[in-house]
């Protein structure tokens, strides 16, 4: 019983500490709204989460949904490329030697660097955003899939050989199931990055969504809404990770 109370209280203390730091900062930084002021100015977005008043002036859940939809598209595009790529590079030493340097160089590039290139290539903001999300988020999946394929126990490879499985059977019955938990870890990390990238890409392209709203409110000098957006991004990112983590645990238990 005492354990439970402590387990419940500790996170509350953590949040309270954050609020304290925030309040203390806002008392000293004139433009930074305090938690209370943030709530006062933002509550219409939270209490009417699905309201649509204008292109950017929408309930926070609605804005988050736009962002999530965009992230979903970019993320799916990213893993649709990354998963087969990971398998090819994991299975073929030649391909891996060939493309490893390329991957290592492309991987650390920031979304802010990719976005202008996307705009040049696609001329429109929406495909440029998807291009950026896909390109930035695919690497963890590529690398985890490679690692997954490499670490398949020799035991399973021997089974495939001894049973004389065809190439297709070896892939679908042995390689794929053995690698799946690793691939999914990749998906989880990729989704985390995709969600990081969304804000940057919406800020630069000015499309409706949490990031777009954040940038607009910065330009409109309504700083409380920036904090609202930051908190929303954090909460949504946390929920996404929890969701993927849940699926991942279930996959690993097989």
């Amino acid at each position: 019983m005492g354990d439970r109370i402590v387990r419940f209280l500790l996170p509350v203390v953590g949040v309270a500490f954050l609020m304290f730091v925030w309040t203390a900062l806002s008392a000293n930084v004139p433009d930074l709204p305090s938690p209370l002021k943030t709530w006062e100015e933002s509550k219409v977005y939270i209490l009417q989460p699905l309201e649509k008043r204008g292109e950017m002036d929408q309930g926070i859940v609605r804005l988050a949904a736009y962002s999530l939809y965009r992230v979903a598209k970019g993320f799916l595009l990213g893993i649709a490329i990354a998963t087969p790529l990971g398998f090819i590079l994991g299975l073929s030493k030649v391909f891996n030697r060939m493309f490893d340097p390329v991957i290592q160089v492309l991987r650390p590039i920031s979304p802010l660097a990719w976005l202008p290139l996307g705009l040049i290539i696609f001329q429109k903001s929406e495909p440029a955003a998807l291009f950026t999300i896909a390109l930035c988020s695919m690497w963890p999946t590529v690398l985890n899939t490679i690692a997954g394929v490499r670490t398949i126990p020799q035991e399973y490879r021997n089974v495939a050989k001894v049973l004389r499985l065809s190439r297709v059977q070896t892939f679908t019955k042995v390689l794929l199931p053995a690698t799946l938990p690793h691939v999914f870890t990749g998906y989880r990390l990729s989704l985390g990055i995709a969600w990081l990238v969304i804000v940057a890409s919406e800020m630069l392209t000015g499309t409706p969504g949490v990031g777009g709203f954040l940038w607009q409110e910065y330009n409109s000098l309504i700083y409380a809404h920036i904090l609202l957006c930051i908190l929303t991004i954090g909460v949504v990112g946390f929920l996404l990770d929890r969701m993927m983590g849940f699926v991942e645990v279930r996959l690993r238990s097989i």
Binding site: N158, K161, V162, L163, R164, L165, K173, P177, I254
Partner: protein
């Protein structure tokens, strides 16, 4: 020509710049329908030899032929039972066995493949665990699945790589009986080559026992025939005078071979000392 012929097979591994000669000049012949056990201690390169026999690993030099054809990759009518069961954890017992059947008999309709898998799992006593995954099965049950999987493809050649060494003594002896039962009941005249470090197991199952020297540069000795009537049981091996005499003879010849081949013979073979002296006492 014998069914399985191994001629002058050698194998070395290089790791960190050091060459390790695991096998050198290995000879072996196995007649069709024979059960042959290769007995050697751990680290004598038994598993390497098995991998070469089964076609998982190419030899550096020498030749392995099965039915007159040289081994290149896995033989189409061969099955292998590994020490560590080697079941696929994401499949049920039934699916593990059916996968082997599916690969061996792709032309069979699905229902026939499933029926065959069920039949063999029932024979090894797993009729009520068909849908269980390996993680839900005990070690002994997993090895039953592996045995069912091996026999279900109706192999002409069976490789057993220390099949029972991961099991406790009681389970081990039950599974040896399962194996004997499979060999006799399925009516297949499968040729079997088993690798083991347990002399009693070899006596129980084999027509020939082939001793193996301790590595490096392991060799095989002259086969020792085991002329005991079948079916054999553990108890019979301990008490039957003929069995006791055979056992003593085998132990003696193993020791002789080991003396010839090795400077330090003491730890080469796992011969249970207590059982051995008991057997000698009883003989007197």
């Amino acid at each position: 020509m014998s069914f399985v012929e191994v001629r002058n097979v050698s194998k070395s591994f290089t790791s960190a710049g050091k060459v390790r000669d695991v096998l050198s000049g290995v000879h072996l012949t196995v007649e069709e329908g024979e059960f042959v056990s290769i007995v050697g201690s751990t680290g004598s390169g038994k598993s390497t030899l098995m991998a070469i026999l089964a076609g998982l690993l190419p030899p550096d030099s020498g030749k392995v032929t099965v039915g007159g054809e040289s081994v290149r990759g896995i033989h189409p009518h061969a099955a292998v039972v590994f020490q560590n069961y080697s079941l696929l954890p994401w499949f049920s017992a039934l699916e593990n066995v059916r996968l082997a059947i599916q690969a061996a008999f792709p032309e069979w309709p699905r229902t026939r493949q499933v029926d065959q898998a069920k039949r063999y799992l029932e024979t090894v006593g797993l009729g009520n665990a068909l849908q269980k995954r390996p993680s839900q099965l005990s070690g002994g049950m997993r090895q039953r699945v592996a045995i069912a999987r091996a026999f279900a493809i109706e192999p002409r050649l069976l490789f057993l790589d220390e099949p029972f060494s991961a099991l406790d003594a009681l389970t081990r002896s039950t599974l040896q009986q399962v194996l004997i039962q499979m060999c006799s009941e399925t009516g297949q005249s499968a040729t079997a080559i088993m690798i083991t470090n347990n002399l009693d197991e070899a006596l129980l199952l084999s027509d020939q026992i082939v001793p193996m020297t301790r590595g490096p540069r392991s060799k095989l000795g002259t086969p020792i025939p085991v002329k005991l009537p079948r079916p054999r049981t553990d108890v019979q091996l301990l008490h039957d005078p003929l069995a006791v005499r055979t056992r003593a003879e085998v132990v003696e010849r193993l020791a002789e071979f080991v003396h010839e081949g090795q400077r330090d013979p003491r730890k080469t073979l796992e011969v249970p000392k207590v059982a051995q002296s008991k057997a000698v006492e009883e003989q007197l």
